[in-house]
Amino acid sequence: MAGKQIVEMREALRQALDEEMTRDERVFIMGEEVAEYNGAYKVTKGMLEKWGPRRVIDTPIAELGFAGLGIGAAMTGLRPVIEFMSFNFSFVAADQIISNAAKMYYMSGNRFSVPIVFRGPNGAAAQVSSQHSHCVEAIYSNFPGIIVIAPSNPYDAKGLLKSAIRDNNPVIFLESELSYGDKMEIPTEEYLVPIGKANVVEVGTDITIVAHAQMVTVCRIVVKELAKRGIKAELIDLRTIKPLDIATIMTSVRKTHRCLLVEEGHVFTGICAEVAFEIQEHCFDDLDAPIERVCQLETPMPYSKALERETLPNVDKILARALAML
């Protein structure tokens, strides 16, 4: 009989780290406040006590330095997990992630792979203004050699983080600060979620809605609202952004003939732009309406909650756009 447990997202992530550290002695976690402080968002709570300072390592505030150090460690035989307190701080480390991690395996003629996971909260939290709120997935997805994962719930977060740690490539693993407390029933037994597989969260026939990460939670409400109006929406959670599971999206669009894309990040060159292009490449004749998208407006994130609410996609905006398409 398979056991079940109800856990928060942060606990699901912690279990993934803990299990992989148990499984593989080369895995360690490094970042700002991950050890003695127990993690800025408590993902690494209790891990220093269990594993000690050799494998749970507090760093100085030097993202370029410790990200690059992690890449060097990955090239020489270890499997680091690097926590960014916010993915906005990864910009300080961008040269190491982009010029070294992403390109090394190819550029070195397959000599050095870089098995490393960069993880931490991405996108908006609540009123932390523009320098702490950017969604980075569109930026990092532009680099061949990088895998980008953005789970929306504790089950996927645990299974995907374990897969990410076992993968031999650099992985950008995006969490959401607003989701760390989300609870869900997950198995107590070990499981993996494969990289590169989207998930059909809600089955429907009238319209396909594609989203990832925190926006999946928002879109679930939209789907319920549509159902009240007799509209059966199919909701797809990308889970992995790169490599993109276009096949699952294609199957859905060929059934519903309508597609609405939702993204927390900005409109211009966002993930939606890529997904929409691939849909028109593969499903042009299947579409009964233009593809639509609801994304963050083209402004740096404002502080005031009155403005923050307006720039982000929300239930009202997504619902209105979906209804207009039908």
């Binding site: 360690f28 370029l64 150090l69 060097g72 460690a73 990955a74 395996y105 070195s108 003629g109 397959n110």
Partner: protein, 342 residues
């Protein structure tokens, strides 16, 4: 305006006794080191000529004038360590066992190249060379990570050694890496090859201190040393000392090796910022001539034998050009392979 860099004669180098070094290393090892320096020089000269013939593209940064440094490092610490360097990476790859053939083929962009024709002049690798890095200072955190791995694995026999140019001292990666290595007692040796120029900007116009290692190291609680990069013996004595020290203490060390490149920053740089007289003067301090003279004086070799060694290395480099020329181009079918590791 800060004062100009101290002239070489005003610098205080790590003390070394040439006669003692000659005796300690012996004839066979010294001739082998001279041969290695000639190997590097000849490879670079032939590669440059291939570039001039249009066989090699992109950027090209020669190690000519700096050969004594990395040659001495290999003699002092051996190949079983982690290495990382800048885009001026040809010599280190050769010294770590990459063949002239595979390196020349890489420059020619052929499938038989060191990195399958994907890296070119700035990105050579071996099983212990973590690359030539194209971004100034980008290799410093990588080498620091290699030092971290050694410590994590409790490997006390090896070190991570990182070469960087004087220009990289201005980068944030330099500061962050040294702070981490010193904070965590990582077995890292950072070697600033000060060739006096960051492309066309003199080091005195780029770095706020005169002595790049000895002035900077104390700020990290590290030891700093200055070696004479034109003198193989001084480099060897210094690196052997530091290697022993790092293995004993597991403390990182910062070294400045004063040298001078005889060429422009890259092949497309005519070096107009440096007067002909200055260049001529520095070329009299040719590290190969200095070692050659010392070995001749010690009666270990005569000038005829040096010429022979030189010819063998020249022929090898010319043969590598032929090998590269005859090697197949990468098949475009393979273009999208290996973006991700299996």
């Amino acid at each position: 305006m800060k004062k100009a860099m101290p002239k070489e004669e005003q610098r205080v180098f790590f003390p070394s006794d040439r006669a003692k070094m000659i005796k300690a290393l012996g004839k066979e090892a010294l001739i082998e080191n001279l041969r290695r320096m000639l190997m590097i020089r000849n490879f670079e000269i032939r590669a440059e000529s291939a570039y001039q013939q249009g066989k090699v593209g992109g950027f090209f940064h020669a190690y000519i004038g700096q050969e004594a440094i990395q040659t001495a490092v290999l003699q002092a610490i051996g190949p079983n360590n982690w290495f990382a360097t800048s885009y001026r990476c040809h010599a280190l790859a050769l010294l770590l066992g990459a063949t002239q053939d595979e390196l020349m083929a890489e420059l020619y962009g052929r499938s038989t190249g060191n990195a399958k024709g994907r890296g070119g002049s700035m990105h050579f690798y071996t099983d212990r060379l973590l690359g030539g890095s194209g971004i100034v200072g980008g290799q410093i955190p990588i080498a620091t990570g290699a030092g971290f791995t050694l410590k994590y694995q409790n490997n006390k026999d090896e070190v991570a050694i990182c070469f960087l140019g004087d220009g990289a001292v201005a980068q944030g990666a330099f500061h962050e890496s040294l702070n981490l290595a010193a904070l965590w007692d990582l077995p890292c040796i950072y070697v600033i090859e000060n060739n006096l120029w960051g492309m066309g900007t003199g080091v005195e116009r780029a770095i706020s201190v005169d002595r790049l290692a000895e002035d900077k190291a104390p700020g990290y609680g590290m030891k700093g040393y200055t070696f004479n990069g034109m003198d193989f013996f001084n480099c060897y004595a210094g690196f052997a000392h530091v290697f022993k020290e790092v293995k004993e203490t597991s403390r990182p060390v910062l070294i400045e090796v004063v040298t001078e490149r005889f060429r422009g920053h890259s092949i497309s740089d005519p070096g107009l910022y440096r007067s002909k007289d200055t260049l001529k003067e520095c070329m009299q301090r040719d590290p190969i001539l200095i070692l050659e003279q010392a070995l001749i004086e010690a009666k270990m070799i005569d000038s005829e034998q040096v010429k022979q060694l030189d010819k063998i290395e020249k022929d090898r480099a010319v043969a590598a050009m032929k090998y590269a020329e005859e090697s197949p181009w990468p098949n475009p079918v393979t273009l999208e392979e290996d973006v991700y590791a299996p």
